[in-house]
Symmetry: C2
């Protein structure tokens, strides 16, 4: 029903000093916001928009690229431009590293995902010794070498998170922490078994646009930022025992913290 375009979209205002491609983008955005195009709906094709507005195709494409940059739509080569579906979000509670969870012995990601009815996967395992970057070394108190554990998390086949844990090599070497699978409860459980009683975590949160590498790894659509979280774990002696550097697809997460008011 291509002729329905005119039922949803209005006309341009030739007296406006607002650029034509912005006017078109505005109309499409409004139509999406008001639900006249719903999640997953196909927008009118470029050709239809060209005919509807009487402008050239490059102008229409310019409009659509504005909406892509805002993360409102995604284009699929050969198929069309679609209103971007909002993926269900995964909530990360601030007590997700509480000892009581650790003692249950299952990985937090797996438990939470299954509770939410999603199929969790962990891949791209890489565990190796490295020389830490300046930043990581500083956070860990200056070790010369660290064990780096890299993994990627997927939900229902969609990559949502990429994480690297760095542990000072003198803590990790020869322990289950250096194994691809560190066992139930993860490396925090192993650290505590090794006598490093965990005291607290520091988390730093930034948001930014992804690098091309991150776009590939997380298969990000245009206009989706990432949340960059750097967590440092401290034991009861105040020593930093682990730094975890995590990049998350921002459209898949809500972080949740509870803070005392005292």
């Amino acid at each position: 029903m291509p002729s329905q375009t005119s039922a949803v979209l209005g006309a341009l205002d030739p007296t406006s000093d607002r650029a034509v491609f912005r006017q078109i983008a505005d109309q499409l955005r409004e139509a999406i916001d008001k639900g006249r195009f719903k999640e997953g709906d196909k927008l009118p094709s470029e050709t239809e928009l060209v005919e509807h507005y009487g402008v050239s195709r490059m102008t229409v494409r310019n409009s659509l690229s504005v909406l892509q940059g805002e993360g409102l739509v995604v284009s699929e080569h050969g198929k069309g431009v679609f209103v971007r579906p909002r993926p269900p979000v995964r909530r990360l509670a601030s007590d997700r590293f509480a000892r009581r969870h650790r003692q249950q012995g299952k990985a937090a990601f797996t438990v939470e995902a299954e509770a939410a009815g999603s199929r969790p996967e962990v891949d791209s395992l890489e565990v190796k010794e490295e020389r830490p970057s300046q930043d990581i070394a500083t956070r860990l108190g200056g070790p010369r070498k660290v064990l780096a554990r890299r993994r990627r998390y997927l939900l229902d086949g969609r990559p949502v998170e990429f994480a690297v844990s760095y542990i000072p090599l003198d803590l990790a070497s020869g322990t289950p922490i250096a194994e691809p699978n560190p066992g139930p409860g993860g490396i925090y459980a192993r650290l505590e078994e090794l006598g490093h009683h965990l005291d607290h975590f520091d988390e730093e949160i930034r948001a930014r646009m992804p690098s091309p590498q991150e776009i590939r790894t997380l298969r990000l659509a245009a206009g989706v930022p990432v949340i960059h979280l750097i967590r440092t774990a401290y034991d009861s002696e105040g020593r930093a025992v682990e730094v975890c550097d995590t990049v998350m697809a921002a459209d898949a997460y809500v972080l949740s913290y509870q803070l005392p008011a005292t």
Copy 2:
């Protein structure tokens, strides 16, 4: 020295199947990453890039728009395209609402900004009674009317944050909370004076691309996401006494939380 372009940028690979505009974007990105173009530097003009690569101007513009979308560069009409300077970041510690800070009587934003050597400003004051949105009402336990306090925060003249506090009207009405200036220590201090002893805060954090309205309010450059933080304050009886909905320019903030491991 326009001829320096060829000293920094290489040639295209005609055998590559990577699109020409992507190859150009890659080369510019690499040059920026490696510091051959530094923060604030002007990139070669579109015309220079056209001559250097032997492509059409639209192709060059396409490359530059890729970098703009990544937030790496900003263009200034009539002047050129510049490597985007990274503004100094403002750190928000998770103890910023601790009672001891509140009792000192100065607004947290002002104190922190001056400590960091920046000039803080708060503007766009609006305090009025409203019917809450569905979401806000739910978070506050369903009041029919709320007091909404809107303000915008600036650092050295640059808007960095827009915040709206919602307080159930039956708590705020006729108190200093309903005044444009609620007095030392802010509304949290007033709430405690009114017998609402604060117990804890919940914070929800999302990251996303800004709406056109947010781009205007925060004067955001292309490719800068926002951090959306929703804080709910609870008193010792478990009642939600305030919801603060905050939108921050992501390039200006690092959020910092400390979590117990217990």
